[in-house]
C-alpha cells in the first residue's frame, strides 16, 4: 500500500517538474519563466517528499523531509525575487 502511494506521489511530482521545464522552454521572458520555476518545482518537490515520506521508518525522517521542503520553499521564494529584481535592474527581457 505504501509503495503504491509512493509511486503515485513521486510520479505526480515528476509531472510538475516536467510542466515547469516545458514552461521554461516555451515562456517568452525571464519573469514568466521564473513563475514556472518557483511554483511548479515547489509543488513537484512537495509531492516527491510526500511520496518518499511513505517509505520512512520513523517520524524523525518525516520531520526531516518536511524540513527539507520548508527550507527549499523559503529558498525558492527568496531566489525568485532576487533573480527577478536583478533582471529588472539590468533591463533583460
Amino acid at each position: 500500500m505504501a509503495d503504491v502511494v509512493t509511486y503515485f506521489m513521486t510520479a505526480l511530482g515528476l509531472g510538475f517538474y516536467l510542466a515547469g521545464t516545458v514552461a521554461v522552454i516555451r515562456f517568452p521572458d525571464t519573469y514568466s519563466r521564473l513563475h514556472a520555476l518557483t511554483k511548479a518545482d515547489n509543488v513537484g518537490l512537495g509531492f516527491l517528499i510526500v511520496g518518499i515520506a511513505f517509505q520512512a521508518d520513523s517520524w524523525m525522517v518525516v520531520a526531516r523531509l518536511a524540513l527539507v521542503w520548508g527550507l527549499a520553499l523559503m529558498a525558492a521564494g527568496i531566489t525568485a525575487q532576487l533573480i527577478a529584481r536583478t533582471a529588472l535592474q539590468r533591463q533583460s527581457p
Partner: protein, 151 residues
C-alpha cells in the same frame, strides 16, 4: 530583557533545527554550530519584532492549498498548446516592514500568477502571468495575514 528573550527564541529555533537534522547525534558539532548560527542570524537579522506562531500556523493550510493551485495554474498554461499567458506588471504600496515585505514577496512568488521583483520607492513590483485577473485584492489579503504574524 526583551533582547534576551529574542536571542533565546533564536537559539531554541536552531536547537530544534539541529536536533531534527542530526537525530540527536553529533552533539559536539551541534554545541558549536547552534550558538554560531544563532549569533550569525541575530547579526544579519536583528530581532526587532517577534514572530507569532499561532497566526503563522493558521495561515499554513491556505498557503499550501494556494501554492498547489499556483503550480497547477502555471503547469496548465505551459502545457496548453495555445499557451494562455498575458504577462504584465502591477505595482502597489505595501504597508509592511522590510522583513515582512521579503516574506510577502516570497509568498507571492509561490501563489498563482504572481511574482515579486523587489520594491520601487516603497511600492511592491509584482509580475503577473495574466493581466486580466484581479491580483491586487489577493495581495492585500496576504499582506494583512502576514501583518498579523509579526509585530
Amino acid at each position: 530583557m526583551k533582547k534576551h528573550a529574542a536571542s533565546a527564541r533564536r537559539v531554541i529555533f536552531f536547537l530544534v533545527l539541529w536536533f531534527v537534522l542530526s537525530e540527536g547525534e553529533a552533539l559536539l558539532v551541534g554545541a558549536a554550530a547552534v550558538p554560531a548560527a544563532s549569533w550569525l542570524s541575530l547579526r544579519l537579522l536583528p530581532a526587532t519584532r517577534p514572530i507569532h506562531l499561532l497566526p503563522l500556523l493558521a495561515m499554513t493550510p491556505n498557503f499550501l492549498w494556494r501554492s498547489l493551485l499556483g503550480g497547477l495554474d502555471v503547469g496548465r498554461r505551459a502545457l496548453d498548446p495555445r499557451m494562455p499567458i498575458n504577462p504584465g506588471w502591477i505595482r502597489l504600496p505595501v504597508d509592511l516592514p522590510d522583513g515582512g515585505r521579503v516574506a510577502l514577496g516570497g509568498e507571492l512568488s509561490l501563489m498563482p500568477g504572481t511574482l515579486a521583483a523587489g520594491t520601487d520607492r516603497g511600492r511592491l513590483l509584482v509580475h503577473v502571468l495574466d493581466k486580466d485577473q484581479d491580483h491586487a485584492r489577493m495581495i492585500r489579503i496576504e499582506e494583512r495575514r502576514l501583518g498579523s504574524v509579526s509585530g
